[in-house]
């Protein structure tokens, strides 16, 4: 292209270069652009360049010859006076010996524009200074937004970490590359593995690690893969290591492609479900037995003529069986009430345990004529915080069992023994019989509801007594211990902590409890 470059005159030149400076050969101002005059109102025609500006480039230029030597290289001027303005651009020596400086202001922020009293309209349309400043302002705003976002995310991450670490359920989070990104403390405990062993593990490695904790027979299928495939349905696993546990695994695909697994330990609720179901079956069975008897005998009485003696015998059976039913229902209701209220309705007061034991023993003293009840009680001033009625019930149940399960008769020894419970002085009520005793298997089930060590049914009872004893004792801060040997008898220890010594003289428990037994008597 050889076409001559276009020239600009007057208003056109002004629009294109609103910050220009045109100087004569003596470097005096001929004209300044409108925007420059707006920013520097002190500029007037004929003013020496050196009076208005410090010339930074060409350094120290005072004459036109200095500018001639500088040529078309970058020139920089700094305004003198209060207005902070730097101009940059290039110098053109014109044919008439004048100097045209085509410069524009150096601006670092929109605040600079405002400080100079300029607006966007003062810049030439081709000058992108305004847009660059807008971009800079937007970038600054975005940087502040990003910082705020990062702070909020940090806070939320810490919150989520706390939630995850407090959770009793295990969490496994895999990235899109299938590598474990996060697992929580509950998962580490659940699998009994060191956290550093899981770091960087792949999904299949964690899968294999879980499978090694399953019983041998169940190790075939991949568990996490199965949970992924059936994301809508939680999968159940039974771990045999590091401890028996029933785990429910659910999973969710993350939006960006990773996978999160949630492992909930449902061992306890599974056990409760099983026990509830077993309890209902047993309760129905136990209630049905006397009801069948009542139903059968009443039907006989209604439909068949029987003699007076036979009739009386049948009515006695009906009465006995219906009494058993009432007793059983009462015990079930008591048990349910005690459990539901978790001891909130217990009326615990300082009690002398020896007095409670004597009251409980008295009704059994002449019950059978075949049993001797021997008492060996600790001193009278040993007091325990107990609900007298409920404790009486527990002691009576233990004594009743001791007598019932010693069908051949014998001695039932009831003693109080000073001991310690969780580091505190305590007192044990020990009931020892010489009855039929229990095997290890029977002993393990002694607190199960409706469990009876005598499956023959010859020994009357509901199978609920020891459950009640356990609830009543433990809700009052005590413990129950049962030891037994088949054919040799059973010993039941009910232990409660002594009431704390408040300095009122009622305590002194530790010393007095270790004193010689104050009372020894034999009921026969």
């Amino acid at each position: 292209m050889n076409a001559e470059a276009p020239g600009l005159e007057g208003a056109r030149f002004e629009r294109a270069f609103p910050f220009h400076l045109w100087l004569d050969g003596a470097l005096r101002l001929r004209r300044a652009g409108s925007a420059l005059r707006k920013a520097l109102p002190a500029l007037v025609e004929g003013m020496a360049l050196g009076d208005a500006f410090d010339v930074a480039r060409p350094r120290g230029a005072a004459r036109l010859s200095d500018w001639q030597r500088h040529g078309t290289a970058l020139c920089t001027l700094r305004a003198r006076g209060e207005v902070r303005l730097t101009l940059r651009g290039n110098a053109e020596l014109l044919d008439d010996g004048s100097l045209l400086l085509l410069v524009s202001p150096v601006l670092t922020s929109l605040d600079d524009v405002r400080a100079l009293g300029l607006t966007f309209n003062d810049f030439a349309r081709h000058d992108a200074a305004g847009e660059l400043l807008l971009a800079a302002r937007t970038t600054q705003m975005s940087a502040r937004d990003s910082e705020r976002l990062a702070e909020r995310l940090q806070t939320r991450t810490e919150l989520l970490n706390s939630i995850l670490e407090l959770s009793h359920s295990g969490v496994l989070a895999f990235g899109t590359d299938g590598v474990l990104q996060h697992c929580n403390a509950a998962l580490v405990r659940m699998l009994g593995v060191r956290a550093d062993r899981l770091a960087g593990a792949s999904l299949s490695e964690v899968d294999a690690l879980i499978r090694r904790r399953l019983p041998q027979a169940a190790r075939g299928d991949r568990v996490l893969v199965a949970a992924q495939a059936e994301a809508a349905v939680a999968q159940r696993l039974v771990l045999s290591r590091p401890r028996h546990a029933v785990i429910e695994i659910s999973s969710r695909q993350r939006d960006e492609g990773g996978q999160v697994f949630y492992l909930r330990d449902v061992t306890r609720e599974t056990e409760v479900e099983r026990m509830k179901s077993e309890f209902l079956t047993t309760a129905a069975h136990e209630l049905r037995t006397p009801m069948v008897s009542v139903h059968g005998f009443t039907e006989l009485l209604l439909n068949r003529p029987v003699g007076e003696a036979k009739r009386r015998d049948m009515l006695e059976t009906i009465h006995r069986q219906s009494s058993l039913l009432i007793h059983m229902v009462n015990e079930l209701l008591d048990l349910a009430r005690i459990e539901a209220r978790q001891g909130s309705d217990l009326q615990r007061v300082p009690c002398r345990l020896d007095a409670l034991v004597r009251d409980a023993v008295a009704p059994f003293a002449d019950a059978t004529g075949r049993h001797a009840i021997r008492l060996a009680l600790a001193p009278e001033d040993a007091t325990v915080l107990l609900d007298p009625d409920k404790t009486h019930r527990a002691l009576a149940n233990v004594l009743s069992n001791a007598i019932k399960y010693s069908p051949q008769g014998g001695t039932v020894e009831v003693s109080t023994v000073p001991t310690a419970l969780a580091g505190r002085p305590a007192l044990t009520v020990r009931v020892r019989d010489e009855g039929i005793g229990m095997t290890t298997g029977q002993l393990a089930r002694v607190f199960e509801r409706f469990y009876r060590a005598d499956p023959s049914g010859n020994i009357p009872g509901t199978g609920l007594g020891m459950s009640l004893v356990k609830e009543i004792t433990e809700l009052q801060g005590g413990t129950v211990q049962v030891t037994s040997r088949p054919g040799r008898g059973t010993t039941v220890d009910l232990t409660w902590p002594l009431q704390r010594d408040d300095g009122d003289g009622a305590g002194g428990a530790d010393t007095t409890c270790h004193a010689a037994l104050a009372d020894a008597a034999v009921y026969q």
């Binding site: 937007t138 975005s142 990003s146 976002l149 909020r152």
Partner: protein, 187 residues
């Protein structure tokens, strides 16, 4: 839309109803309440969901929310970040609207993915003109009404803004009528 818009919605809600209200809005809109970055583009759906949730939170019609947002945008958001740009737009509402397309041209260079609307002004009489608004987006006419009212407030002018025609079949633009109101002083 750029984060700038969503952030302005957050600022509007927080300024009127406080931080907890904004959290509820985010919950309703299924949007994380962590915030937005001005220069990041977000899906338009996020903005529409937020407007819907603000409408529920404030028991206002979505149109009223958009109008309030338009006013807020002019008086606070744009002023805070782009006051200098706003100043270059002119010193009266009429002048500003006339320069708006030019100003949007500058904004487009900063936000290359921004799809800005077009405004055309037709004078009827002094202090009385029509503004045709066209945009790729639908349903934002109430926001434009709020923007015009906010601008009038910025320039200390009293105007009535009326939507003459909503865009639809046969009319590709929303047409507003702006008329300056003479203040009468009681004797």
């Amino acid at each position: 839309m750029y984060g700038l818009v969503n952030r302005a919605i957050e600022q509007l809600v927080v300024s009127l109803k406080g931080e907890p209200a904004w959290r509820r809005v985010c919950q309703r809109a299924n949007v994380q309440a962590d915030g937005f970055v001005a220069m990041c583009p977000y899906h338009d759906d996020v903005t529409y969901r937020l407007v819907g949730a603000v409408s529920e939170e404030m028991s206002m019609a979505p149109e009223a929310v958009l109008e309030a947002f338009g006013e807020y945008w002019i008086l606070y958001t744009a002023e805070e970040g782009y006051g200098e740009l706003m100043e270059s737009g002119g010193s009266t509402l009429r002048e500003f609207i006339g320069n708006l397309n030019d100003m949007h041209g500058r904004v487009e260079t900063v936000f290359p993915q921004m799809r800005l609307p077009q405004f055309d002004v037709q004078d009827i009489a002094p202090g009385h003109y029509r503004v045709a608004y066209s945009s790729e987006r639908e349903g934002l006419a109430p926001m434009v009404r709020g923007l015009l009212k906010g601008l009038a407030q910025r320039f200390g002018e009293k105007v009535e803004v009326r939507l003459l025609h909503a865009r639809g079949k046969g009319c590709p633009v929303d047409l507003f009528e702006v008329q300056h109101v003479e203040e009468t002083v009681a004797a």
